[in-house]
Structures are given as structure tokens and as C-alpha cells.
């Protein structure tokens, strides 16, 4: 090939040859690319994070380097630009293009880190100092260009001693400088200058990449140049990134490796060939070429050769035209595809689907139609579970499919070739489905048989959310179907996501409002109100739930829209401060506090619901607080009781045989708290030798559960004092009844014991004293009885003699006595009889004191009526008026009460004897001191209250015997009866107006 071109070149058809050579160099060298290259790129989490941080901030320096970069009406286009855009798509990020005037400036900017990345760069050692290079994305050849009239220069060696132009700073420049120092290098600022110098003969040659050479030659119309040979310098274009960004280098390499050979070819065709074509299209080219050909003819070279060249040219031209037509057609088809797809998408979006299921069903139909398929499915995919769930399948599948029990749920591992879309994360096409395939696992029985099959994963971000499978298109599935399906489904999925977001939002709103209205806890939302200094000063209620109304007892309208200070003017500022912190810092808070105005305790959880706002979940914990306070109170009281009761408390852990004492225990046992003291031993040793056995036995019995531990024992303290201890203990047992711990009390009862002892001693002597005293009393009593007995017998006897013999004297010797004598006898007799009466009364009085009371329930009114009846019978004809209050029920001795009432009523009867009208009354009243008392009132002679003291004394009389008979014993007897009943008797009287006697009978229970 090169030989032919050489021939052509030698025949001055250099430009053709250059063009041919370009066309025949494989446009893209065998840079490896993966077979199924349209899959998404695999980036590590770090790389993704790096990219997302730097997205839009990666600066790429660019300058016009045709055909890599060209400026077309303010926009940059070109081969490398296509690669940049492709990488942006693959990596999902944007680069920032920073334009520079020259390549030199770009390099300088890269060194200075004013840009982060360059492209269309060749790797050189010098550049590697500050740049990291990606793999080459395009590989072209460097050519040697000379003036037509210049011979030689077919390789770099032949350029020895030549003046060679190179772009200053270019990779070629660097390479030549290092490897061919013998060359006379003439660096030029740009290719145009260099080519012009070659053309003018200022330099002998220029080394330049061929595509650029052709571009400039065409653009400038330089015609006297030719390609003399190939420079042995690889022209590999790479991206390069600042050396401190290795991640970007790795990412770019990954991105580049995802670009398929086909894509590379199409890019290359687009730019490098266009460039070639332009060369031939240009008028300059043709004019100059024809000129050259005429010259060739004129120099006499063969017409045949010219013709041959011309035919070749025509052939080339034709193929270029055909390609142009094909490309236009391709573009038209792409446009049609877009239209079809957009219509389908529009229909889907306008389809009134109830839910995702329905929407996807409809989308599947559209996808089938769009790709010309016959059947299809959509499986939803869960990346976490690695599981497929069938969402939609086409009606035809159902009609044809006879799977008995269709499985709608598949684990990724179960799937056959249709799961490859997920496993490889890229579309899969099988246009000869019935053919053998290592990944196919076979149909389920009855499954419809497929001819052609395509499946595409649907991504949301980097997650696969579904796979769509289509089958049985008439023709083969191709890249276009994939693009159509992916673009359609991605559009659909936007809609699905939106639909789900709305549904989630609605569900969330429903859940929230349900919760808000039904929770037992109060829930309220507020905005904080701050003062000028920005400190929280108040807060306003925005919303409260029903539980909050119940809890606070105030209706919603009292809260919402009002500030807390309006509703609760006495609110503690601590509440506002606490909530202010939440609203202003966003830090959630929970605490318990008392709202004095509501009289309740609340536990609140507050969080910042929006800037400057806060929401509060309140629990009414008043009851719990009360219990806690009560418990605390009780604990304090208990402590107080332990302290004030001077109680020694001990606890025994039976598992470890460890005993612990409180301070009072040490105090009781008279020892100080010392380390390493074995307290069990200390207790045992302290026991009084006499009490030790039963105290230990009681403890053992308590552990056995035989009886309570509550002994009293003596201990001997180290200082020798003996103390009495009252002990109590409870044994705490596990579920099986085995004792775990013993907790006990010790109380010093020495003082109590001493007191008991002295009391017992006192009681012992007391009994003796009582016995002695009783004996004395009994003796006195006996003497009194003897006296009374003697009086009864001996005092009355002589009186009877006096009376009897006086009578005998009067009877037997009355005739011998004068009137005076008889009168004296009668006086003697009267005196004796009165003496007898006195003795009888005295005896009666003395007997009352000795009588045993026999209290019974009796009616004083009834007794009084009987007595009065007797009195009136003895004195018929005396006018009287009695008034006795009925039912004067008392507990008293009947015989004694009869005696007392006989005296009182007898007196009343006696002292009213001279009244023309007798009024005697008896009844019940209240004494001045409020006691129940009885009275006997008459309208008789009464008495002078000056002598009331003498009234109840024996033998004391307030009236003459001649006026009213009586011994003066009656009231003394009455008083004794009343006293015997524990009562009191007193009298009120007015002379000649009558008297009233009062008495009480409080009770007789303890009067014996």
C-alpha cells in the first residue's frame, strides 16, 4: 500500500495519495472495547461520590485543533468533543470547557492547575510530570510533509540535518528533540505557520498528524506540499488529568472502555472522513489538482495513468455520495423513531391509569407496538432481594401460554437468559432464540415458544427497578430497538416514580392525620416568637389534636392562633425557653415538667418541624408523678422512722454469707465500722451466754421457714454493758422457697425492759398494799357492823322498857296520879318512842351504805305514782294535783329508789299539808351542766336557801318537829341512795313558795 502511494507521490499526485493513505489507515486502531458495551459503567462508591462532588466543576482546557475541536457558530464540535460528550453521558457528569487560544497556553494552564483536564493530548515524559494520562482514545499517524520539489524524507532518519518545523510544545516536538537531536528543529507556534514555512521553503519539512495536515492544507490552499513519509512517532490522543486526581483518570478509563468499536468507528467516520471529503470538495483542491494534472500531462507522463487516477477519484466520489445519502436516511429514521417514541410516551402519560400496575400494562402494549414486537412482559426487580415480580404481560402471551401454574415471582438465581439483563446490567438481544445458548434454562412447561427476544433493564439512577422483555419482532432486534425501548421506559418510569411519590405522599398525609386525630397523646404544632434580641419570648399554637384538647381541658379554638402567654398567662418561662431551643437550634428535646396553671405534669417530646417551628408530643404523667412523689414521701418517712426509731438494720446475703449493718447496728452493738469484720461472728459473739442458744435457734428456724424471727435476747457490748434487743427479720426466698437474703431489724429495748421490771416490782408491792388496806377496811367494816348490830339490839331494848313501864304505871297507878303526873308519863313515853324512831332511821341509813345495788331498768314515774297513791289513801279528802312526766326510765336499784322517792314525795306531801291546793310535780330536765336530771317540785312551805347546806345532813331539820314531824334522816337517806348511784342531789326553794329537789342518776355500772 505504501509503495503505491510512494509511486503516486513520485508522480506528484501527493494529495491523492495523502487522502488515500488517510482513508486506508484503519480509522480506529484495535483499541480494545467490550463486546456488549452499551451497559452502564461500573463505578465504585468512592468514584461515584467523587464524581458527584466534582460534577460540573471539572475544567477542560480546549483550543481549536481541527478536527478534534472546531468552532462552529459559537459552539464547539469535533472528534474529541464527541468523545467528551460521550463520556459525559457514560459517567453521568458534566465537564466545563475552558477555551484557550493556543495549545501552549492549555499546557501552561494545566501545569498551573487552572484547568483540571486536557484532551487530544499525546503522552510525553515531560507532561507526565504533572498529568495522568488515560488510555488512548484515538490513534493516528504522524506524517512528514515536504515541499513538492523536495526529495527524500521518507522517514525521520532521512531528515538528519534538515530544518524541521514542529508545533512548539507538541508531543512531536518533544519526541523529536529527545530522539533526533541531529535534527534542526524549528518550533512554530502553530501548524499553519509551520506549513507556510515548508511551503515557502524556509524549512525543509514539518512533522504533523495527517488529519490536521490535510485540514490546514485545504483551509489555506497550500498546494506545493507532499507527504514524503511516515514519522515513526505514534500519534495517540488521550485525555490527561491533573496528577493529583487519579480517581478521574480511573473513571475516564472506565468510561472510555465502555465505548464500543462501532461507536468509535461512527465518530471517526463522521470527523476524519468529513475532513477528507472537505479536502476533495474544495474548489481550490480541484483547481490546483487539475492544474497539477495538466502539469503532469505536460511533463509527458502517461495518459493511462491519469485516467486510472481519475477513475479512482470518481469511484471515491461516488462512494462518498452514497455514504452521505445513507447518513441522511439514518438521520431521518432516527427522527421518525423519536417521533414514534414520543407519541407512544405521550399516550402512556395521558393514559388514565389507576395505579402503577395499570400504567405499566399500558406502557407494555405501547412498547410492543413501538418495537413491532408481538408479545412482552414487565418484571419489577428488587435489588436488595434480587427478586423479580411479574407486573405485566401481553394478552397474546396469556392466550398462547399454557403454563399450568405460572410463577410470578423469581429469584435472580432462578432465571435463565432473561435474567441476564440484570446480571450483565445491559440489554440482551437474542435474534435466534431457538438456538442453543449456554445461559438458557428452558421454558416452563407450556410456555409460548419464542423466535426473537430482547430484554432491557430499566434504571433509576444506578438501580435496576424493572426489566422489560419483548419478543417475536418480524425482523431482528437491533440497537435502535434497544434505544427506543430504553428511552420509552425511562420516560414511563419518571411517570411511575411521580405517581408513586404522590401516592406515598397521600398515604403519608393520611397516616399523619389519622395519627394526629387518634393518638392518646397530645400533639401540638407551634411557631416560636422571639424578642428583638432573638431570644424566645412566646410561642403560638398552629394546630392541636383532640387528645391535646382533652388533656388540657381547653377546646381547640382557645389554642390555635393564640400564643401560650395569651392562653396561659402564668406559663413558666422555662417552657418557652426549652421549646425555643428546639425551634431555633433544631435539636430535639424531651423532658418532664409541671404546668402549674393546668395543675398537671407532662412528659414532652419536642422536635423542630420546620425552621422556627416545633411540634410537641405531650404525655400527661400527673398520676405517675403523684405516685412517685408519694413513694418518695413514703421513703423519706421510712428513713425518718428508721432514724428516729434508732433501728438497727442488717441484711444477710445467704449466697455469699455476707452481712451488712447500718450505722445504728454498730451503735447498738457498741463497735465501730471496721474493715474485714465478720459481722455474723460479731453478732454471735455478742449474744449473752444464756440467750445465745435460743437466739441462734430462732434464726435457724426462721431460715427453715418454721416460724417468724422475732426473739428478744440480751447482748453484751465490748464495754461490758448488757442490752436487751428486740429482733425481727424477714427471709426473702426464690421461687422454689430457698432463702436468698434475710433483712432484719434490731431495736434496743433495754429501757423498756427496765421499766417493765420496775413496774412489775411496783405491782407486786401494790398488791400487798391493797391487801393490807382491804384488810383494814374489812376490819373497820366488821367493827361498824358489830356496832350497828349492837345498836340494833341493845339500844332499842331499854326504850321498850321505858315506854312499857310508863304505860304500866299509867294503867296501874293512873288513878293515884294527878294530871301533871300523867302528862309526865306521856312525855316519857313520847321521848322513848322518838328515840326508837331515831335509832330505826339511823340503822336504815347505815344499811344503805352497806347495801348491794341491784340495778334494773325501772320507771321512776311508775314508782312515784304508787307512792303518791299510798299517801293520798292515808289522808283522804286532801285536795291535790299531781303532774308526773310519764316514762322516766332509768337503770337503778328498785328498793333504794323506792326509799329515795318515798322520802322526796313524802316530804312534798308533808310540807304541803297546810296548802289549800297541793301541787306536786315530777319530771325530767337538763341540769345546768347538761346532765339528764330529775326533779320533784312542790308548792309547800319551802325553806330558806341560807340553810341549804344542812338540808341533806342526818338529824338536821329546818322545821320544828311540832310543825312537821320527822327525824331529819329522810333526805340524808335520799342523798345516800343517789350517791350510791353515782348521782348528785340538790335543792332550790323559796320560803312559802315551795321547793324543788333535783337529782341525777348517771349510771350504776361501776358503783358497786
Amino acid at each position: 500500500m505504501f509503495k503505491i502511494s510512494y509511486l503516486l507521490l513520485s508522480l506528484s499526485t501527493c494529495l491523492w495519495a495523502g487522502a488515500r493513505q488517510v482513508s486506508e489507515i484503519p480509522p480506529v486502531s484495535a483499541i480494545s472495547a467490550p463486546p456488549s458495551s452499551d451497559a452502564k459503567i461500573h463505578l465504585t462508591a468512592e468514584e461515584q461520590q467523587w464524581l458527584s462532588i466534582h460534577d460540573g466543576h471539572i475544567r477542560i482546557g480546549i483550543t481549536v485543533i481541527p478536527p478534534q475541536v472546531m468552532e462552529v457558530s459559537g459552539d464547539y464540535r469535533g472528534l474529541s468533543i464527541d468523545y467528551i460528550r460521550l463520556l459525559e453521558r457514560k459517567l453521568g457528569c458534566k465537564f466545563k470547557l475552558v477555551p484557550y487560544a493556543t495549545w501552549d497556553e492549555i499546557l501552561q494552564a494545566a501545569k498551573d492547575r487552572r484547568i483540571d483536564m486536557i484532551f487530544a493530548a499525546q503522552q510525553t515524559p515531560e507532561r507526565s510530570n504533572y498529568l495522568l494520562f488515560s488510555q488512548p482514545y484515538i490513534e493516528l499517524a504522524n506524517m512528514i510533509l515536504v515541499r513538492q520539489d523536495r526529495r527524500g524524507g521518507s522517514n525521520l532518519k532521512e531528515l538528519k540535518g534538515w530544518k524541521v518545523a514542529v508545533s512548539r510544545g507538541s508531543a512531536v516536538h518533544e519526541s523529536l528533540r529527545h530522539n533526533h537531536p541531529q535534527m534542526d528543529l524549528h518550533p512554530v507556534p502553530d501548524e499553519v505557520t509551520g506549513l507556510a514555512k515548508v511551503s515557502m521553503g524556509e524549512v525543509d519539512a514539518m512533522v504533523l498528524e495527517v488529519s490536521r495536515a490535510s485540514y490546514y492544507i485545504e483551509k489555506m490552499g497550500i498546494l506545493n506540499l507532499r507527504v514524503s513519509g511516515q514519522a515513526d512517532i505514534p500519534y495517540q490522543l488521550r485525555f490527561a488529568v491533573r496528577s493529583d486526581w487519579p480517581t478521574l483518570q480511573v473513571v475516564l478509563d472506565k468510561g472510555l472502555s465502555m465505548i464500543t468499536a462501532e461507536v468509535r468507528r461512527s465518530i471517526h467516520r463522521k470527523w476524519v472522513f468529513v475532513s477528507d471529503r472537505s479536502l476533495f470538495d474544495s474548489q481550490v483542491f480541484w483547481i490546483s489538482s487539475i492544474g497539477a494534472l495538466v502539469a503532469i500531462v505536460l511533463v509527458g507522463l502517461g495518459v493511462t495513468l491519469w485516467n486510472k487516477s481519475l477513475r479512482k477519484l470518481v469511484r471515491l466520489r461516488t462512494s462518498q455520495m452514497e455514504q452521505q445519502v445513507a447518513e441522511r436516511k439514518l438521520a431521518e429514521e432516527a427522527l421518525k423513531d423519536d417521533l414514534k417514541r414520543l407519541r407512544a410516551l405521550l399516550r402512556i402519560l395521558h393514559h388514565d391509569a389507576k395505579d402503577r400496575q395499570k400504567l405499566l400494562d399500558y406502557a407494555l402494549d405501547e412498547a410492543i407496538r413501538l418495537t413491532g414486537s408481538r408479545i412482552g412482559y414487565i418484571y419489577l426487580y428488587d435489588e436488595e432481594r434480587q427478586q423479580f415480580v411479574l407486573n405485566s404481560w401481553s394478552r397474546d402471551v396469556m392466550a398462547e401460554c399454557a403454563v399450568v401454574d405460572p410463577q410470578t415471582r423469581y429469584d435472580l438465581s432462578q432465571t435463565g437468559v432473561w435474567g441476564e439483563a440484570v446480571r450483565q446490567r445491559c440489554p440482551i438481544i437474542l435474534n435466534d432464540y431457538p438456538a442453543q445458548h449456554p445461559l438458557k434454562k428452558g421454558y416452563p412447561e407450556g410456555h409460548v415458544h419464542l423466535k426473537k427476544f430482547m430484554t432491557v433493564p430499566i434504571f433509576v439512577g444506578h438501580r435496576i427497578v424493572a426489566t422489560v422483555g419483548l419478543a417475536d419482532k418480524e425482523t431482528d432486534y437491533n440497537e435502535r430497538d434497544i434505544i427506543q425501548l430504553r428511552l420509552l421506559m425511562e420516560g414511563v418510569w419518571h411517570s411511575v416514580t411521580l405517581m408513586e411519590t404522590l401516592e406515598t405522599l397521600a398515604a403519608s398525609e393520611k397516616r399523619y392525620s389519622g395519627l394526629f386525630n387518634t393518638i392518646q397523646e397530645g400533639f401540638s404544632i407551634h411557631e416560636i416568637i422571639t424578642d428583638e434580641a432573638g431570644r424566645p419570648a412566646d410561642y403560638r399554637f398552629l394546630d392541636v389534636n383532640p387528645a391535646f384538647e382533652t388533656m388540657t381541658g381547653l377546646p381547640r379554638k382557645r389554642w390555635v392562633g393564640h400564643t401560650v402567654k395569651e392562653v396561659l398567662p402564668g406559663i413558666e418561662h422555662a417552657w418557652i425557653e426549652a421549646y425555643g431551643r428546639v425551634a431555633l437550634t433544631g435539636e430535639p428535646s424531651h423532658f418532664e415538667a409541671y404546668a402549674a396553671q393546668l395543675g398537671r405534669w407532662f412528659q414532652v417530646h419536642a422536635f423542630c418541624s420546620a425552621p422556627g417551628q416545633f411540634a410537641v408530643l405531650s404525655f400527661d404523667i400527673t398520676e405517675r408523678k403523684k405516685t412517685e412523689l408519694a413513694l418518695l414521701d413514703m421513703t423519706q418517712r421510712l428513713s425518718l422512722a428508721v432514724a428516729s426509731g434508732r433501728l438497727g438494720i442488717w441484711e444477710m446475703d445467704l449466697a455469699t454469707a455476707q452481712m451488712t449493718w447500718n450505722d445504728e447496728m454498730y451503735c447498738l452493738y457498741g463497735c465501730s465500722r471496721e474493715k474485714d469484720e465478720v459481722l455474723v461472728q460479731l453478732w454471735s459473739d455478742s449474744l449473752h451466754p444464756e440467750d445465745a442458744p435460743f437466739a441462734r435457734e430462732a434464726y435457724a428456724a426462721a431460715l427453715q421457714g418454721e416460724r417468724e424471727f422475732d426473739p428478744e435476747f440480751r447482748i453484751i457490748c465490748p464495754d461490758g454493758t448488757t442490752k436487751f434487743i428486740k429482733a425481727n427479720a424477714v427471709v426473702i426466698r426464690d421461687d422454689d422457697g430457698s432463702p436468698l437474703r434475710v433483712i432484719g431489724l434490731n431495736r434496743d429495748i433495754t429501757e423498756q425492759k427496765d421499766a417493765e421490771a420496775s413496774l412489775a416490782a411496783f405491782n407486786a408491792t401494790l398488791e400487798q398494799r391493797v391487801k393490807d388496806r382491804t384488810a383494814q377496811l374489812e376490819a373497820a367494816n366488821r367493827e361498824l357492823e358489830a356496832f350497828s348490830y349492837s345498836v340494833s339490839h341493845d339500844l332499842r331494848g331499854p326504850l321498850r322498857g321505858i315506854d312499857g313501864f310508863s304505860r304500866a304505871l299509867a294503867e296501874d297507878y293512873g288513878s293515884r296520879l294527878d294530871e301533871d303526873g300523867l302528862h309526865y308519863i306521856s312525855r316519857i313515853r313520847a321521848g322513848a318512842q322518838r328515840m326508837g324512831q331515831l335509832i330505826d332511821d339511823l340503822l336504815r341509813l347505815s344499811r344503805i351504805s352497806r347495801s348491794s345495788l341491784m340495778p334494773v331498768e325501772l320507771d321512776l314515774a311508775e314508782l312515784a305514782s304508787e307512792i303518791l297513791a299510798g299517801l293520798t289513801r292515808a289522808a283522804p279528802g286532801r285536795p291535790f294535783a299531781f303532774s308526773i312526766q310519764p316514762e322516766l326510765i332509768v337503770q337503778a336499784d328498785r328498793r333504794l329508789m323506792l326509799l329515795a322517792l318515798e322520802n322526796l314525795l313524802g316530804n312534798a306531801w308533808k310540807f304541803t299539808a297546810r296548802c289549800s291546793e297541793v301541787h306536786i310535780a315530777m319530771g325530767e330536765t337538763l341540769s345546768p351542766t347538761g346532765e339528764r336530771s330529775f326533779f320533784v317540785r312542790d308548792n309547800g312551805v319551802g325553806f330558806d336557801m341560807a340553810y341549804v347546806d344542812k338540808l341533806f345532813k342526818a338529824f338536821q331539820r329546818l322545821h320544828l318537829v311540832s310543825e312537821f314531824e320527822g327525824t331529819g334522816i329522810g333526805l340524808a337517806i335520799t342523798q345516800r341512795v343517789i350517791h350510791c348511784h353515782g348521782g348528785r342531789i340538790w335543792a332550790e326553794a323559796t320560803p312559802d313558795k315551795g321547793s324543788t329537789f333535783f337529782f341525777t342518776l348517771p349510771g350504776v355500772g361501776d358503783l358497786r
Binding site: S792, H793, P798, R800, G801, D803, G804, S806, Q833
Partner: protein
């Protein structure tokens, strides 16, 4: 001695007054007086005494007497089979309850308190004589 009464009384006044009343009833000659308890018992339990063989219709017995008092006499009389059923009327100045109870417990047939006023005393004695000598039927007859 048939239809007689034994009066056991240490007080000579009472004896005289009693006999004076009985005399008016014409039964004074049927009365045997013992000046104390000892003398009274001798009449029953010694040979050739007034009641060695026959018993009186009734005994009027004073209680308070020197040496052997009325209770002793009564106890002794009741302890002897011959006099166990002899009508004994305790006639004394006192109406001490314990005397009344004790007398009946020892088997007295009646308890009479000697009234102090003579008219009442006279009436009492008259009634006693009439009752015991005439009306009453004694087991010994």
C-alpha cells in the same frame, strides 16, 4: 306440862312486860321463862326439868343473850330428834337481815321483831300467845 310456852329472854324488863301482857290473856301461868340460853337448854336436856319429858307448845326465843345465845339454842334444839320439830318463834329487838336469814336457815318457825312502842308490843305478844297456844297444831301433841 301441857299447852305451855317457853320464853327465853335475858332482859328482865321484857320478861316482865311480856308476862304482863300474857297475864291479861290469862295464859301467864302456862309460861316458863328461861333467863338465858343455857338455862333454856337445861330445861330440855336435863333430868327432872320442865321439858325433860313433855315439850312446850312453842318457844319464844330471844337472840342476843349472854353465854349461849338464841342461835345456839335453836341449833341445839334442831339437832336433837326430840326437839327437832318443836315450834320456835324468834322474838328479838333487832330486825337485822342476817339474823332473820340465819334464824330461818336454822329452822325457826317464825321471826318476830319486838315493837318498841308498848301498844304494838302488847298486840304482838297477845297475837303470839293466841296463835301458838290455841290456833297452832304442833307435831308433838
Amino acid at each position: 306440862m301441857k299447852c305451855s310456852i317457853l320464853l327465853v329472854e335475858d332482859n328482865p324488863d321484857d320478861v316482865e312486860l311480856t308476862l304482863r301482857v300474857l297475864k291479861t290473856q290469862h295464859i301467864a301461868n302456862q309460861v316458863v321463862v328461861a333467863r338465858d340460853g343455857e338455862a333454856a337448854l337445861r330445861l330440855f336436856f336435863e333430868e327432872n326439868q320442865a321439858f325433860s319429858r313433855e315439850l312446850p307448845s312453842a318457844v319464844l326465843l330471844d337472840l342476843k343473850m349472854p353465854k349461849v345465845d338464841g342461835m345456839d339454842v335453836l341449833r341445839r334444839l334442831r339437832s336433837e330428834p326430840r326437839t327437832a320439830t318443836l315450834p320456835v318463834v324468834v322474838m328479838t329487838t333487832s330486825n337485822e337481815e342476817r339474823d332473820v336469814v340465819a334464824s330461818y336457815q336454822l329452822g325457826a318457825n317464825s321471826y318476830v321483831r319486838k315493837p318498841m312502842e308498848f301498844e304494838e308490843f302488847e298486840q304482838a305478844i297477845r297475837n303470839l300467845g293466841l296463835y301458838w297456844l290455841i290456833l297452832n297444831v304442833s307435831p308433838n301433841e
